[in-house]
Amino acid sequence: MSNAGQQRFTGTTVIGTARLIAAKDLRVELRSRVLLNQVLPFALIVMVMFAFALDSDAVLERVAPGLVWLAAMFSTLIMVSRSFAVETADGALDQLRSAGVPAMGIFIGKMMALMAQLVVLVTLLILTAVVLYRAELSWAGSVLLVTTGLTATCGLAAVGTLYGGLAAGAKGRETLLPLLLLPVVAPVLIGATRATESAFGTRGVSTGQGWPWLGLLAVFAVLFSVSGAVAFGPLLDD
């Protein structure tokens, strides 16, 4: 009895909700294996297709950082759609809200789950770039790359969750989401690509030149995490 009471209590605080929602999303993912069986293979085939389209080792090496993040963004679109399809399929989101679950907690939880999946995806994409596009990684470059990856995925996850929630439950959202999301994530594409370029040493850019771009990524991540956490309630309320 007291156990159930405690469960309810942790469920209604923001952090508790976030943890529950994130765990739930990751569990759904682990059971369904959509990321593993569908999204990751999709990202891989995109990387291979880029090689067909560009048809030159020199060009591939030159544009590898951009391709990594472009592929990451396309895959993000799929993952966001998936993340909210799970939620709206049987009106689960509405039920969560009418049960008094804090919206901020839902936002943070879904964002965390999305970010965890994006980290896996981006890691794989970078490894692919190293193997397929002959990108070089130094020790200092790896530190920059990990920091870039974490900051950029945080921003992507925040924006993805926010816009995914905005279009959730509406008809035709699958086609609308890319139109809404891609313009917004342009700063991430610019910042993450430049930082990755200097981590890879593309065009002779040194690692040190990559760090200032992290500022842009961090500003983006903070701005959209905060505004997402604030705006998610008014978005879902009826």
């Binding site: 279009a167 509406a170 008809k171 139109l179 313009p183 917004v184 700063p187 505004s227």
Partner: protein, 247 residues
Amino acid sequence: MSNDRATSTPFTKGLGFFVVLGIALLIILGIFVSPADVNQGESVRIMYAHVPGAWLAYLAFVMTAVSSAAYLWKRTRSLTWDRIAGASAEVGVLFMGISLVTGSLWGRLTWGTYWTWDARLTTTAFLFVTYIGYLAVRGLGGTHQQRARRSAVLALLAVLEIPLVHFSVELWNTLHQEASVAGRGTDVEMNGLMLFTLFLGVVVFTLMYIWLVLHRQRSLMLEDMLDDSGLDNALSERRAEATQVGH
């Protein structure tokens, strides 16, 4: 006759008259009377249509953001704000599209290229796409309140997004090796008549904006009312059916 006055009032009719008059005057001054510029030559004439158009688009998007904030603020919450925001965004998208076209025509004459990756141009293109997305969200369906809430949040997010995009494109550009052509050939020495023509353009376009938004906002209201009454009719029909079955 009552059909003819669907969304117009004596005020909008008068306004419309002045707008048409102003457009005629603007065309005469812009194309025929005003002189060619020392630096830009004849192509400066495009400016009299382009600058007011871009001004109007920005004005419209600011209006959308302000009305969206007014909708979200509980004390001023009213669907009227939502409709003003929607009408304004629609007019803004129209004029942003127009000024992208006129701007690239001007760029072709002045810079020799339709497009350049200058921060202002790129941000403008992003604004255009963002508000096309905004209009698409308005068309998603659901209740009027749902539409209003979704689109208001989206409009405020655009206020966040656009400076970030502008800033990052600017950063990106400083690394660009190619010299930016934007800014070249833009210094115009305006004499009195040229300044007056440009000023007239801004005034005429602003009046045009008011006319368009007034009409569009009213037609949106009519459409909302029809939606509601359609629902009412369906409900009362259903009720009538139910009572008949009961008998």
